[in-house]
């Protein structure tokens, strides 16, 4: 699978909304045992936030870290499954809000929780092909779970963005390889005009998440001659905390290399932003020369796996914007009633 030539991360940004709801509060409403909840709490977008506003927030930090004029960005690609409009691009609003010019390509990508890394793939390809100088790859979601459904505990809100350009000495990190693995798998879907997704527990774990995640990682290692020991950090998609840790166990990866990239315990599953937020959290602490293996997963189903090597620019550039930890500590806990109002689940 492809070696990536001349594409690097120049800026990164993460955004998590201020509101949180504890999983035990959701369990209380539906009469479930509080000991069975999959995460501690999840981030909830406020009533005036959506996938577009959060994409703008994350992108603003990514551009600030890159230290470039926004007008040099030639593509804005947004991965999301919670587009505010069924027909009207999100990327054009993001571009205009950030002062990015009009001579750009802009597209919204959809591949469930893998949509953000799909945006990364297309921006990397455009940079490598020298079609653009810089591009913005964004994952942003206000994930929706049907009230009372198992997904309601984890479906959360957040965004992450990367400014990707050609390799330079001051880049934050460079892409080395990527592998993608997809199949037609009926694990999770949402039809047009439906408000909430459907999912099948028969397909959720083994045939979907684990098959695609582990196959992508194994393919990448086998085809490019890497071993587990060649990596300092592993980042997985995180529908909960248990799944990425189980994937690590299957692949014989030490937990110490996985835990720094875990975000779902305190913000939930932010869908298209999820593995990208894990990358943001790792970039907040990584050192030049360290190597990261990042693997997304999207239902339907598929995984993108990337080898990313941290560059010399990380130390200076990461200080230009708030770390993800600033958004973890900035929080207000709400009850279930307020959560319903914020996520527009009350229809009269």
């Amino acid at each position: 699978m492809p070696q990536i030539r001349d594409a690097a991360i120049h800026g990164y940004g993460g955004y998590v909304p201020r509101l949180r709801i504890k999983a035990t509060e959701i369990a209380r409403i539906w009469g479930k045992e509080s000991g069975e909840v999959p995460i501690k709490e999840k981030a909830v977008a406020a009533i005036d936030e959506d996938a577009i506003t959060m994409a703008i927030e994350a992108s603003r930090y990514a551009i600030r870290r890159a230290g470039i004029d926004a007008a040099r960005i030639g593509a804005v690609h947004v991965g999301t499954e919670s587009k505010p409009y069924a027909v009207k691009p999100s990327g054009t609003i993001v571009a205009e809000a950030l002062g990015i010019g009009s001579n750009i390509t802009s597209a919204d990508y959809e591949f469930a929780c893998k949509a953000g890394t799909e945006a990364m793939q297309s921006i990397i390809a455009m940079v490598s092909a020298r079609r653009i100088e810089y591009g913005l790859a964004i994952g942003s979601d206000t994930a929706q779970g049907r009230p009372g459904d198992a997904l309601e505990y984890t479906a959360a809100s957040g965004a992450a963005a990367l400014v990707i350009g050609r390799e330079t000495r001051d880049a934050i990190a460079r892409f080395e390889y990527s592998v993608t693995y997809v199949t037609d798998t009926p694990d999770f879907w949402r039809r047009s005009y439906e408000r909430f997704p459907m999912h099948t527990s028969r397909f959720t774990g083994e045939p979907a998440y684990f098959k695609h995640t582990i196959t992508a990682v194994k393919n990448l290692l086998a085809e490019n001659g890497y071993s587990i020991n060649d990596f300092d950090y592993f980042i997985f998609h995180q529908p909960n905390v248990k799944f990425p840790l189980t994937a690590a166990k299957i692949l014989s990866i030490p937990l110490a290399k996985v835990e720094p990239g875990i975000v779902s315990d305190v913000v939930g599953n932010t869908y298209a932003a999820c593995s990208m937020l894990g990358l943001v959290k790792v970039l907040d602490i990584a050192k030049p020369g360290q190597r990261i293996l990042m693997t997304s997963f999207g239902s339907g189903a598929g995984s993108d796996s990337f080898v990313i090597t941290v560059g010399e620019g990380i130390e200076e550039k990461r200080e230009r914007a708030p770390p993800l930890a600033a958004f973890f500590s900035r929080k207000k806990t709400i009850d279930y009633g307020m959560y319903l109002k914020m996520r527009d689940k009350i229809r009269v």
Binding site: R18, A46, I47, D48, E49, D50, I52, T53, I56, E57, P84, Y85, I93, E96, A97, L98, G99, P322, P323, A325, A326, F327, F328, S329, R330, K332
Partner: protein
């Protein structure tokens, strides 16, 4: 019956300021104008150039709106503040990501972009600037 929907052409024309705090500054007296003008409303000067307000400022005062027009009812109670940006310009804007008891005069705020309202009939979303307490490093 009065209609409170978004005037779409007006919203579209107002994007530079609502999205990016971009307007026009008089080169003679420094007055900032939110929309294009041929003549400065303060000094009558005719040399105006594009400029952008700082996205950071401090809160001068605020009030809480509990009874709003239909377009904003979903957002009540919400806070409207008077903000002095770093370049000294005073602007009025909504405050978000905060409760009234967290606010105090002189606190650092920064601009963000949020939903302002959704048109009742067309469902078009109007986005624009709001201010929030400045994000602090942990």
């Amino acid at each position: 019956m009065l209609e409170f929907g978004i005037r779409i052409p007006r919203y579209w024309r107002g994007k530079p300021f609502r999205y990016r705090l971009e307007g026009f500054r008089c080169e003679e007296c420094g007055e900032f104008h939110f929309s294009p003008r041929l003549v400065c409303r303060k000094c009558g000067g005719k040399r105006l150039r594009r400029d952008k307000l700082s996205e950071r400022g401090r809160l001068i005062c605020y009030t809480v709106v509990k009874s709003a027009s239909p377009s904003f009812e979903a957002y009540t109670p919400y806070i409207v503040g008077l903000i002095q940006t770093e370049d000294g310009t005073m602007i009025v804007g909504q405050l978000t990501d905060c409760d009234p008891e967290e606010l105090h005069e002189g606190m650092d705020v920064e601009a963000t972009i949020r939903r302002l309202q959704t048109d009742g009939e067309s469902r078009l979303i109007a986005y624009g600037y709001k201010f929030r307490p400045a994000i602090q490093r942990p």
